[in-house]
């Protein structure tokens, strides 16, 4: 039984002419215990997908069931309760509250559960011990290094014992040593039986994943199972051909990752068949949009 089941999920931003299609009829099913890496160029909808799965956002169309319950049309408060009890978030920018100590930050989700202060502190402290920064309990987040801060954020995500952990580029702000530390920690958690989704730009990190999903322009273009400890096949192509993007590619909005992918039309999927039918003007529009996103990213 899959823990996450997305069917034809779309997400639109804006109105009228300014409408952007962030997710384009995505179908995705993730089983319990999977460790999924989501890869793709900036603006391809990875974060939107994560936000939808984590119930921070609602899909414009399509159905979504989390833990076999339909959750696409939940009210804000119901979504909040599910976030509290079943989902743990890890962000690229840590997102700890700067005025609370590390311990208080970790205990925050428990606060909203209505747990007593003593139990909160005890559980939070245990969780900090597990991520290895118990000696930093009473520090403020800005007194920690990036790696330690992310460890605290992971402790916060874990403190409610959630089934699903969503990490949006957890290592994006970290150096390689800290990245490894964080990924080892996530791998540990995975071994305990949690389902983990993480977004990354670093092909090297697919070593930790059991499955890699590639996205482009709001669609999932490739999805492969991979063995733990091995860089995923598709990602490897990118890794060993680096740097693969030329200036022309940059202008055209083609990322190194995309070059490494098998030809879009050859993918045997519903999406693949559709993309064949995309007219020339449609492709042009897509190209233009990618250019825009690159410009936005550069500025």
């Amino acid at each position: 039984m899959p823990i996450i089941q997305l069917e034809d999920v779309s997400k639109l931003y804006g109105f009228g002419d300014a409408t952007t299609l962030a997710l384009d009829e995505v179908n995705l099913s993730i089983d319990k215990g999977e460790f999924v890496a989501v890869m793709g160029p900036s603006g391809c909808g990875k974060s939107t997908l994560m936000n939808l799965i984590g119930l921070l956002d609602r899909p414009s169309h399509g159905t979504y069931s989390l833990d076999s319950k339909p959750v696409a049309r939940l009210r804000q408060n119901q979504a909040a309760k599910i976030r509290r009890d079943t989902v743990g978030f890890i962000f690229q920018s840590y997102n700890l509250l700067p005025r609370l100590t590390v311990l208080e930050n970790v205990a925050l989700p428990l606060t909203y559960k209505g747990m007593t202060l003593n139990r909160r502190i005890k559980l939070a402290s245990q969780m900090l011990e597990r991520v290895g920064i118990q000696d930093r309990e009473y520090f403020l987040p800005n007194q920690l290094s990036g790696g330690q801060t992310q460890c605290a954020a992971i402790a916060r995500a874990l403190v409610n014992n959630p089934k699903l952990i969503i990490a949006d580029e957890p290592t994006g702000n970290l150096d390689s040593a800290s990245s490894r530390l964080i990924m080892e920690l996530l791998a540990d958690i995975h071994k305990m039986g949690n389902t983990i989704l993480f977004v990354t730009h670093n092909p090297e990190l697919t070593r930790y994943a059991t499955r890699v999903v590639y996205m482009h322009d709001g669609s999932i273009v490739h999805d492969e199972k991979t063995a733990l400890g091995r860089v995923a096949n598709t990602a490897r192509k990118v890794l060993y051909n680096m740097p693969a993007t030329t200036e022309e590619d940059d202008l055209a909005g083609v990322s190194a990752l995309m070059k490494g992918l098998p030809d879009k039309s050859s993918i045997k999927s519903k999406r693949g068949r559709k993309s064949k039918a995309v007219s020339k003007s449609g492709q042009k529009a897509k190209l233009l949009r990618s250019k825009k996103s690159i410009k936005a990213a550069k500025s």
């Binding site: 936000n51 984590g54 921070l56 956002d57 804000q76 408060n77 979504a79 909040a80 309760k81 976030r83 509290r84 009890d85 978030f89 997102n95 700890l96 509250l97 005025r99 925050l108 989700p109 606060t111 909203y112 559960k113 209505g114 747990m115 007593t116 202060l117 909160r120 916060r156 409610n160």
Partner: protein
């Protein structure tokens, strides 16, 4: 939930401590509002107690006859009460006799005012020179510090009794008994000096401390019978019959004055009602104005909370991401606003106690802060926080989590 509320309280106090300067300015509106409301109400209360104290001293059965009709009830008369001696017409020596001989009246004394400057060691023009009779001290229940009051045998003699301030204003020595001063070309001998009268603010009673008392007939002679008699005080034989005596005096005076109804006869307790009405009216008026400042203070709190919500949108996003429901966010910000305005209210209360002490030390006012006022002020400032805090709090609570999380 209990621990959550405590957490919010802690967070609220933390944010009050966190941005001290800004929060002080925020609270200032509430502080000023609460301080002024409490101070005004306490002054009003103090004046009321002073007046009733005075009435108590003079006795509730003291009857006061004054020219001009007093219509308690219409707004106009309340204003005319404020002007003190409302000498529209005046009473005559005949009226004085009528009162003195009326059935049920034990004794009475007129009060007439004579204009002019008295010259003793120093020239003195601050007070009134009043003509009266020997019954006055017992009518006012006021004792003399030195000497004695003139009596009926002294009628026609140029003798005087001074109020405490008048004594200081006329003479250099502390005990001016036997000293003389001149007034309207006549030399008066000082017979006695009154103890200090309690001053009652806003009361229509003249300040007797500044007055020079001379025999009534002397005052009439000196002024060729033109000195206006603006008040007659009388005490009934039996205090229980006060209202009957008032009625008797009314009919007899009306007859004596040729059916003219241009005077009033009031017992002290009726007087008290009039004064209290005036004080209440004024207190309510000024407290209302002060309450507007409380409202403005509340709007100030709302503004700061709106800014605070906008500034902390990212924090709200994080809290929502880890599972805070809308109502939890709502209560967090409402509690924060309430802590802010309640602190302002408490500071205001402390400040008004300080002002009360200062007023008691440096003015004649004797403000009284009742516990009811303190409770109401606390409640109102809490209410201000809840009411004006809820708008920003709702704004914070309703923000979709992803939007809140994106804002920096």
């Amino acid at each position: 939930m209990k621990s959550l509320t405590r957490g919010h309280l802690k967070a609220g106090l933390g944010s009050v401590r966190g941005a001290k300067i800004r929060n002080f300015w925020t609270m200032l509106g509430v502080i000023i509002g609460v301080t002024s409301v409490i101070t005004i109400v306490s002054i009003g209360e103090g004046v009321k107690q002073q007046i009733s104290g005075q009435v108590h001293r003079m006795g509730k059965d003291l009857i006061s006859i004054q020219p001009a009709q007093l219509n308690t009830g219409s707004g106009e008369s309340k204003v005319s009460l404020l002007s003190g001696l409302n000498i529209a017409g005046s009473l005559s020596a005949k009226d004085v006799n009528v009162v003195n001989n009326a059935r049920g009246v034990d004794y009475s004394a007129p009060l007439s005012a004579v204009g002019g400057i008295a010259k003793g060691d120093k020239s003195y023009n601050q007070g009134l020179v009043m003509g009266t009779t020997g019954s006055l001290p017992s009518l006012l229940n006021q004792s003399l510090r030195y000497g004695g009051f003139f009596n009926d045998q002294d009628e026609g003699r140029y003798v005087a009794v001074l109020g405490a301030q008048a004594s200081k204003g006329l003479f250099d020595n502390d005990i001016p008994l036997g000293n003389t001063f001149t007034f309207r070309g006549q030399t008066f001998i000082v017979r006695g000096v009154f103890n200090e009268f309690n001053v009652t603010p806003l009361s229509e009673q003249t300040d007797f401390n500044n007055a020079i008392f001379i025999p009534y007939d002397v005052s009439q002679t000196l002024s060729n019978d033109t000195a206006p008699t603006y008040q007659i005080l009388a005490r009934p034989t039996d205090p229980k019959n006060t209202s009957q005596v008032v009625a008797t005096l009314k009919t007899q005076l009306t007859k004596a004055r040729g059916s003219n109804n241009d005077f009033s006869v009031l017992a002290q307790n009726q007087n008290l009602i009039g004064s209290n009405e005036v004080v209440d009216l004024l207190t309510r008026l000024i407290a209302g104005v002060a309450a507007i400042s409380l409202l403005v203070g509340g709007i100030g709190i709302m503004n700061v909370m709106l800014v605070s919500v906008a500034e902390r949108m990212h924090e709200i996003g994080i809290r929502k991401a880890v599972g805070a429901t809308n109502s939890q966010i709502l209560s967090q910000f409402v509690i924060e606003a309430s802590v802010l305005s309640l602190s302002g209210g408490l500071i205001g209360i402390a400040l008004s106690f300080l002002i009360e002490l200062l007023l008691r030390a440096f003015t004649d006012l004797q403000p009284v802060i009742t516990w009811q006022v303190v409770v109401v002020a606390t409640g109102v400032s809490l209410l201000v926080g809840i009411v004006f805090g809820s708008v920003p709090a709702l704004k914070a609570a309703r923000k979709p989590p992803i939007e809140a999380l994106r804002s920096e």
